[in-house]
Amino acid sequence: MEPILTRNIVKGNGPTMLEAYEANGGYSGFRKALTMAPEDILKIISDSKLRGRGGAGFPTGFKWSAVIPIEQSGLPRYFCCNFDEMEPGTFKDRYLVESDPHQLIEGMLIASYTCRCNIGYIFIRDEYRRPIKLLRKAIAEAAGKGYTGKNIQGSGWDYELYIHVSAGRYMCGEETGLLNALEGKRANPRSKPPYPQTSGLWGRPTVVQNVETLCCVPHIIERGAEWFVSLGKARDSGVKIYGASGRVNNPGCWELPMGTTMRELIEEHAGGMQKGYSYRAALTGGASTMFLDASQMDVPMDFDTLKALGLALGTGTAIVLDDKTCPVAMCRNLEMFYARESCGWCTPCREGLPWVEQILESIEQGHGAPGDIELLIDQAKYIGPNTYCALATGAMFPLESALTKFREDFDEHIRSHKCPYSEGRILNF
């Protein structure tokens, strides 16, 4: 497959900076965009059927079209890049930017121009030191070339681009939590509506978009919507950065056609399972997705196909559950994460998640009682839908899925008063 998002990523080479990026055709998409009307760019993006790569798969063209039309107030409009990437098991955006920072900036410029935004923020987590350093350098390079600033390339469009380095909290990756964090507040979610496109950062029209989505934009502008649609293998268009972590021989991430199967991902790209371990299931894309089991390994992994099966693509970076790892303990680890990272704003999430964690912990330690599983099923039903944001909903996806697919493991823990997997494992509770 022709590398598209990864065309400037060559193993062993350093990061691609401005000169090399432009030599390889970089910023020609942006220069082309500047000669076009924003409505025409929006049409291409809509026709390309590009969907948000942050996990939710929201149609990008539709998101942009919801930004309120430019008014004459002269007040700023904002475009935010969500580079928080704190979804457990996810590292695809880091992979893209730490070798090719300009691709993100170019995508950001085209998107901001299309939405008539004049200020951009790249919201990045503090732990991504290398991408932060590269982006700072790349932004300075782009400014030096006149790609930001006043009257860019004679187009009459003004744009300034800044980096905000977070201080760490999963909630910052939630669209409205991110906006609160940028305003210097606790990253609690906001009630929607109003949506950020109407009233976002400091009450102004704002778009929040994931890194990988933005990286697709320059290529779509240059090569057209039809081309992008043709890249997908199944029902969704384009390419995707898929990944795998866990007990595989070659963990990492790879650019593949949208709709690649788990079998291809694990067997061809991740080098198969480590010796002594076999594939049992995988969370398809980060912690907030469901388990795709061995019988589903030939399903094309795209947003719609997975959704139809009660699964979700999420971020596309799979976390593999092998046959030697306890699914109950795995759920306990996942729920510990959510319980800790819950911002505490909504009661079902704040109170429910630590309760779920405790129930799972007691089952794992052999203190589970009959009725515990029913209680977990109940929790999964009531916690998720009754909150402002999707954190708790996402927290329940892997749990509900595990309770369905690995019910026998839960029962066995309760029946035998011990974890059948824990022999020789340290239980660090």
Binding site: P88, Y162, R247, P251, D322, M330
Partner: protein
């Protein structure tokens, strides 16, 4: 009182922001960079600069994982305990670290050299298990690697 250096760095962060409050997280980071952590006194110091009450600033400071409201050691070790690292043996790595340092999670060694803090996914899952020390990612952790890193830091 804020030093001249701190004041200057905070003003640089605030320069492009439309409100003083928007620079709250950046200002907390500046103070932490120079003082190692954010004390009650630091909240008082920042209050007039940001136009926020110390309690309001504290509500922000305590929200974010990487703002320390207690003193920390010279080296801060953030050990990832999220799912990919956990699958790859984080529990035994953590147990080894605690034994080796003689402290539990959240504590600082008696000589003030190391603080050990659990953290959520560091986004380097292909190198699991992973930890971060003083801003550097250290992946594919083994007991030997930990020995090396700790003795190198001492």
């Amino acid at each position: 009182m804020l030093t001249e250096q701190e004041k200057q760095e905070i003003e640089e962060e605030l320069a492009h922001l439309p409100t003083r409050q928007a620079g709250c997280i950046d200002a907390l980071k500046v103070v932490q960079k120079h003082r190692g952590w954010v004390s009650d006194e630091a909240l008082d110091d920042l209050s007039p600069v940001l136009g926020m009450s110390p309690a309001e600033i504290d509500s922000v400071a305590t929200f974010y994982n990487l703002i320390f409201r207690k003193p920390v050691g010279k080296h801060v070790i953030l050990i990832c305990d999220s799912i990919s690292c956990w699958v790859m043996g984080e529990e035994s790595i953590l147990a080894y670290l605690q034994r080796k340092l003689g402290i539990k999670l959240g504590q600082t060694t008696a000589d003030g050299m190391f603080t050990l803090i659990p953290t959520v996914c560091l986004g380097h899952c292909e190198q699991a298990p992973v930890m971060m020390m003083d801003g550097d990612i250290i992946g594919n952790l083994t007991e030997e690697k930990i020995d090396q890193i700790l003795s190198g830091a001492r």
